[in-house]
Every structure is written in structure tokens, then in C-alpha cells.
Subunit: 277 residues, 2 copies
């Protein structure tokens, strides 16, 4: 089964576009958990058990595991093994490096950390993306227009190439459309819900590309735009990521129930906005 | 001591601009080593012992450790502890993420993996760089013009902003100059030796920024240009990275001596091109 088939299946089974970002900050977990030797693992286990019938994917961000040193990476390796096999794992590492290093990242992400898809930074160009695209049953999401306050600083620069004017994120979206067409892996885009005009624009440029949409939740993005412009021409739904608003819905020992309640509310809102196949 | 002071001191002590990239691929190490449980560690120890009086820095690239899963990250945590305290460690992760995640990466790189400096990808803008710049005694190197074959695909796009035309890598170099001026951490640039014209241009734009220069060695870059344009106005030398041409100078059990010989030849060539203070 390819990444996109697995994603579509999870979206349909759980009637959900919600991706829970497993961005675990030990200091934000309930105090009793912090007394354990490896608090990331029991926290993640409880969150996954409480939300696995409400999500279409889980997205651990590498940064939060690296923050805990090698111990955090051991936790990550164990956490990805707790995710049910029918739910896709997106490893958010925003990788981007020269060819032989990109190969090493792809091997790590896809083979060691069992990711179905990864996020990639486009700045270094096609040969930094190519090694990931060789994995036929996997996917990549290339940063186009991100959700952070200064995202536009470079991404919205006007570029001129052979008489054609386009913004940098548009040039990236066009390149990603070529990468997706070439395959064999699926190539999608990261487009923040905090930039609804750009979201609409990118959907226009790249009608067939799957979107990973961060920025809903703590970052205050536009969920309606995420659903409206998030779907591909073929009807594949977006992957709408929420991390903090679910993980830290409360910081008491009922955190897992509270996370479920927050996830359920998000999914209910998504279902009320647009039909999920 | 700040990162730049530590770097300058190592350059002067060892009369060297050479940085050895600790990009360990287990399959490229001598066969007898591969029989060990954790071959990365003895390989790295031998390379560090053989080259520590010839280098101004060591640069482990995260991708090669991630390729080995959590075990690789445990090896990395142990390898950085083998590097003598007077030699700067540059953790090459090409990080770039939203604010709270960038904070997590900075904590991981600077506090857990003991990096004196890191590499950063600029695509996400100022707020993805800011958390790293808060570490007053550390440094960052922002990707400007990288050494890979498709580097120019986005980096050499012509951009237009308030009537000013500049290439994308020039816009990044200008932003990095502001970040360096604001501090408190030092902000330098990654500029590949495979693009000598761009190297000259970026030195013109950013006369005060330290350069990390990959692309010499296996990638065939221009060492003379790296030394000529690599120095800052104040006379701080470049960090010229070579990985494969040193690490895998041979694949026999004399690999460490052979690596030393390769490193010595590179340093001799550097000294013959320009005086090292």
C-alpha cells in the first residue's frame, strides 16, 4: 500500500483530517509523569491510545526528541512502534541536504524510524529531495508557505525567471508538482493555515498535491480555509496538524481524556465544515 | 569564550582552516570494525585522535547518525564527548522550524549534543533562526549558496523587493548580516567551494561574516577560492570542511594514519595558498 492509499484509508476509517503532532515537551507533561525515568513514552502511549480512532496521521517533530538528547531519540524509536500500523507516521524533520546526506536521512526516517512520510525544506533544490522520492511507498511534504510569523520573509519574495514572475513559494509548489509527477514517492506540500490566501493560491497552482497543513490550534490558523483548499482535485483530504492544543489540553493526570475531548471537538468542527468521504 | 574566539584560537593553534566532517557511514568503515557492536564510536575515536592537531573544527552531520536510528544518536552523543574541548564542534543539522520547535532544536544541539555552532536553513525566516541566536557563546551558519549540483535552482533565483534586484542567496546573506549584527550569537554563512563566483560575491556582500565552506574534497570544489574569499574583514579564517576525502582515505585498518595523511596534505596545501595567522 502506498503512503497516499494508507492516508486515504485512515481518513475514511476515522472520518478525520486531524493529524496529532507528537511534539512532546517533558516540562509540559503532568508532574507525576515527570517523575518517571522516560516520561515521553508513557505520555505518548496515553495520547495515542486516546486518539487513534480520531486521527488520519501522527506527526512527531524531530526537534522535540533531539531536545532530550540520545534518550529522546530512543523514546522516539519506541513511540513510533506504538502507533497502530494503519495510521501513517509523518516524521517532521524539515530535512534538506546534499545527495549522499539526503540518502542517509531517508534511510533513517523511512527505515529506522518507520516514517510513512517526512517533511523537507526546498532551499537546496531537486537533488536534496530526490533520494526521498526513490521510496515508492512513501511520501514527502515540501515546505511551501509555512505557518510562522516571519514565513513570508523569503517565501513571499517575488522571483523572476525567464520572464515569468512568481513568488518563491509558488516556484517551490511548481517544482514539487514536477517531483510528484516523476515519483515514485508521493510529493505534497506544507502550507500553513495561518496564510489562507496563500493556501488558496497554492491549491490553484498544484491541484493534485496532498497538503500537510499546520497552524490550526495554538497558532490560530483558519480551519475552514484548510478544509476548503486542502483537498486535491481527486478528493484526497488534507492532513491538518494540531499539536499543543491536543497534547496539552490539560496538564493533569486526566490529560489523555482531555486530549481526546480536544481532538473530538476539532474533528467535529472539521466534519461540520465539509463532508469527509 | 565565544564560538568565534574558540574557532580563531583553534585555527591559530593548529595553523589550519580544515574542518573534518564526521560523516560516518558504517558500510564505508574497515570490515574488522564493522564486526563491533557500535562501529561508529571506535572509528570516530581513531579519526579524532589522528587529526586533532590538524583541524580547526569537527562537523558531525546529523543525517549519518539518524541513518543508524537511536543507536546512531547514542553514538553521536558519545562521539562529541571525545572531541578535545578546545576544538569547536559544528553540528550540521540544517535546522529550520517554527519558534517553539527551533527552541527545542537549539536546546538539543547546544545543550545535549554540546555543539558550539549549528547549520541552519533560512527558508522559514528570522523567527526560525532567533532561538539559536540567543545563545551568546555559540554560533550558527545559515545556508546561503550550497555545494550541491542543483543548489542554484532556488538559491540563484532573481528576486525583486522594493525595486531592488538580488539573487535569493544574496537576500539570505544580507539577512544573515543583520542577524550577526544583532547577535548575541555569531551568525555566519554556508557557502560551497563548488561555486567560486558566488563565494566571491557573498564575501563582498557580507565582509564580516564567518564562512563554513563545504565542497572541497569529494565534491571537487575550489580550495584557492575558499581561502581567498573565506576570510572575514577582521582576518578570521574560513572553516573548510572535508568529510569523505579524509574519513575514507583508505578502508583498511590503517584508516586513521591514512586519514591523517590526507588531512596533513590538505592543510599543507591551505598553508601554501595563504598565510594562516
Amino acid at each position: 500500500m502506498t503512503f497516499l492509499e494508507k492516508l486515504a484509508h485512515a481518513q475514511q476509517t476515522n472520518r478525520s483530517f486531524l493529524c496529532v503532532g507528537l511534539d512532546i515537551v517533558v516540562a509540559n507533561t503532568p508532574l507525576p509523569l515527570q517523575l518517571e525515568d522516560e516520561p515521553m513514552l508513557p505520555f505518548a502511549r496515553a495520547i495515542i491510545e486516546a486518539t487513534q480512532d480520531l486521527v488520519c496521521a501522527y506527526k512527531p517533530n524531530l526537534g522535540f526528541y533531539l531536545a532530550e538528547g540520545a534518550a529522546g531519540m530512543v523514546a522516539l524509536e519506541r513511540i513510533v512502534r506504538l502507533i497502530p500500523p494503519h495510521i501513517p507516521i509523518i516524521l517532521d524533520g524539515k530535512f534538506g541536504d546534499i545527495g549522499n546526506t539526503a540518502e542517509a536521512y531517508a534511510r533513517g526516517a523511512f527505515e529506522q524510524f518507520r516514517a510513512d512520510a517526512v517533511t523537507l525544506a526546498p532551499y537546496m533544490g531537486s537533488d536534496s529531495v530526490a533520494p526521498f522520492l526513490r521510496y515508492a511507498d512513501r511520501g514527502v511534504f515540501v515546505l511551501a508557505r509555512t505557518s510562522n510569523p516571519n514565513a513570508g520573509e523569503f517565501q513571499n519574495l517575488k522571483t523572476v525567471s525567464s520572464q515569468e514572475e512568481r513568488l518563491l513559494y509558488e516556484a517551490v509548489a511548481l517544482a514539487a508538482s514536477r517531483w510528484h509527477a516523476q515519483g515514485p514517492a508521493a510529493c505534497g506540500l506544507v502550507v500553513g493555515a495561518t496564510a489562507p490566501a496563500e493556501l488558496q493560491r497554492i491549491r490553484h497552482i498544484a491541484p493534485d498535491l496532498p497538503f500537510l497543513i499546520p497552524g490550526v490550534g495554538a497558532q490560530g490558523g483558519d480551519l475552514e480555509a484548510a478544509i476548503r483548499y486542502g483537498q486535491t482535485r481527486d478528493g484526497l483530504g488534507p492532513v491538518i496538524n494540531v499539536s499543543r492544543a491536543v497534547l496539552y489540553a490539560s496538564r493533569t493526570m486526566t490529560f489523555a481524556e482531555d486530549a481526546r475531548r480536544a481532538a473530538q471537538a476539532l474533528v467535529d468542527t472539521m466534519r461540520s465544515i465539509g463532508p469527509i468521504r
